[in-house]
């Protein structure tokens, strides 16, 4: 973390992201209305009463954007955590044991990867029914292979390091070696991937909501607002622009963060510092 602070882009993105998170967390406090409260008229322009105007049903866009942030961020975090939990386990197992286990797990992951991801998410959502929790699961499943591959990759390098053999020579069991010796040393690329997957999860959620399969109305999510808003691009351009900007900014921050994390964790880069 110390290194992150040295990087201006990283600091800026961290700050902006913190603000976004804060806004989302404090939504009930800072928003003037309920997110599903219908105001006087639809598609009003920005005004003092309605910072970004009102949406197609006459709800305050500002309020909805802030609440949508809650949903989108929650879906992002939870689905990434789900993906991480499964991905890391699979990656650890296949990388550590190798052989047939590895082949089987890898082919399964290839299968998931070869499956068009939106279609996969769509299928999962359709089976489970559209709601926010199922969206998390669906997006989580879609993102499993990335984590699994990255984990497997670093396990393969870490497991050849001598300290792993040292641990085994001292009598440590497989589980202990995997969790105590190998995993901690695979964390940096995983951490980098966390922010990148978080970013892409926000995008997939938006795409799912865009296809009408994400969060259900009247609960707002950035994706669904983006989708509704673009119908009024000529009448109320701020609607879609704001929603798009929210997604874009969040994803940008996360990507920037991931980028500088990558730089920091890159052994070649650190050696010079």
């Amino acid at each position: 973390m110390k290194h992150v602070l040295k990087d201006t882009a990283a600091v800026a993105s961290l700050l902006i992201f913190a603000v976004i998170v804060l806004l989302a967390v404090l939504a009930p406090v800072i928003t003037p209305y309920r997110y599903d409260e219908i105001q006087e008229a639809p598609l009003l322009g920005p005004s003092a009463a309605y910072l970004f105007g009102t949406d197609e049903i006459g709800r305050d866009i500002f309020t909805r954007i802030v609440y949508a942030g809650r949903v989108s961020l929650l879906v992002g975090v939870c689905s990434t955590l789900i993906a991480m939990a499964f991905g890391i386990s699979l990656g650890l197992i296949s990388g550590y044991y190798g052989g047939k286990t590895d082949v089987l797990v890898s082919r399964f992951l290839d299968g998931l990867l070869a499956f068009p991801s939106i279609i996969l998410a769509l299928a999962v959502m359709a089976v489970l029914g559209p709601d926010i929790y199922n969206a998390m699961i669906a997006i989580g499943i879609v993102s499993i292979p990335v984590f699994a591959r990255i984990t497997r990759g670093s396990v393969l390098t870490v497991k050849t390091r001598e300290f792993v053999e040292a641990s085994r020579s001292m009598g440590a069991g497989d589980i202990r070696i995997m969790l105590r010796e190998i995993l901690p040393n695979c964390l940096s690329p995983i951490l980098v991937q966390f922010s990148l997957t978080f970013a892409s999860a926000v995008l997939i959620e938006a795409a799912l909501s865009f296809l009408g399969l994400g969060v259900q109305p009247p609960t707002p999510s950035w994706g669904s607002m983006l989708n509704s808003g673009r119908s009024y691009l000529t009448q109320a351009p701020q609607y879609s622009l704001i929603a798009g900007a929210a997604v874009f900014l969040t994803v940008l921050c996360l990507n920037l963060l991931g980028d500088s994390l990558r730089d920091i964790f890159d052994p070649r880069e650190t050696r010079k510092r």
Binding site: F108, L112, A114, P116, A123, S240, V251, L256
Partner: protein
């Protein structure tokens, strides 16, 4: 090489087996079925049962799966529940369209990303690099469908330069075809350029840091030569892998793009068939698209293997 291919084919079949299992059983779990969809709102239970029996939907799932796989192995992917068209003919009609988008999209992406990637890695940490990285991050972070809508609004509505989606077959009007291709291709290209750029830059930097590049420089050959011979040749496999990977992501990520641009490709067909519970088409489409994806990645691997003198396969 032959053995490598055999091994890869075996891998490919395993992957497809997984895909077939996933696609078959997930979609059977969806509420609704093709018989219901075909009969509309208010079918009598008898009519429904009869149609289900006719379509073989009354058999146990495992039997249905085995039946289906049996057909698939003989190259018969079944037929659409909507209009009885063979799935193969449907796919044959749609895949070229998707491929067209993906190929030109990739071409646009490469055109943008390769020069940028080379520049950024050669002038690492310079302002050029920083600028390019920032721009690429923007491309990386923008939701593709939103970009699509913005582009369309700008180019199709404001300036009326290009058609707003729609598909004109080449055989009908080549020029219009190209015009209708432009917007989706640019959308797809921009988003992918960002990714290719980032991979390429990282790959080039990795190679530039290698000992043998130092050796090359120690010979006093020009920097241009070092970059375009020694670095490029070693960064190429990475680039090929990324292109293959991206191409396959493109194929499967085309769902939203095709819907928006009304581009009759594989993604749209899949969505349409899912909504209509057209099992055979969904299954066939997913399986074939997985096959294409796996094959493209395989081709990438083989190409890399052929390019890499270290890998010598006897066989």
């Amino acid at each position: 090489m032959l053995q490598l291919i055999l091994k890869k084919v075996a891998e490919l079949l395993t992957v497809l087996l997984f895909v077939s299992l996933i696609v078959f059983f997930t979609f059977r779990l969806l509420p609704g079925d093709p018989a219901q969809m075909r009969l509309g709102l208010n079918p009598t239970p008898e009519a429904l049962a009869a149609l289900k029996a006719e379509m073989g939907l009354d058999k146990p799932l495992v039997v249905q799966y085995v039946d289906w796989i049996g057909h698939v192995l003989t190259g018969n992917l079944g037929k659409s529940a909507l209009d009885d068209k063979s799935v193969v003919s449907l796919l044959a009609a749609k895949i070229p369209n998707t491929f067209e988008l993906a190929i030109f999209g990739t071409a646009v992406a490469l055109l943008l990303a390769v020069p940028a990637g080379v520049l950024a890695s050669v002038y690492k940490h310079s302002w050029t690099d920083r600028l390019l990285r920032t721009v690429s991050l923007f491309g990386f972070s923008i939701p593709a469908y939103w970009l699509a809508v913005l582009l369309m609004l700008l180019l199709a509505y404001k300036f009326q330069l290009l058609p707003a989606g729609g598909f004109v077959p080449w055989s009908e009007d080549p020029w219009l075809h190209v015009k209708s291709l432009a917007l989706p291709v640019v959308t797809v290209g921009i988003v992918n350029a960002a990714q290719v750029f980032r991979f390429l830059r990282a790959g080039m930097l990795e190679v530039i840091g290698q000992d043998y590049i130092r050796t090359a420089r120690a010979k006093g050959i020009s920097e241009f030569y070092v970059i375009f011979k020694h670095v490029a040749r070693n960064a190429l496999p990475g680039l090929i892998t990324v292109i293959a990977l991206n191409f396959s992501l493109l194929l499967s990520g085309m769902v939203v793009t095709e819907q928006i641009f009304a581009w009759p490709g594989l993604g749209w067909l899949m969505i349409q068939s899912i909504l209509a519970r057209d099992y055979d088409v969904v299954q066939g489409a997913v399986l074939v698209s997985a096959l294409i994806i796996v094959i493209i990645n395989l081709l990438g691997d083989l190409l890399n293997a052929a390019l890499d003198p270290r890998i010598k396969y006897n066989g």
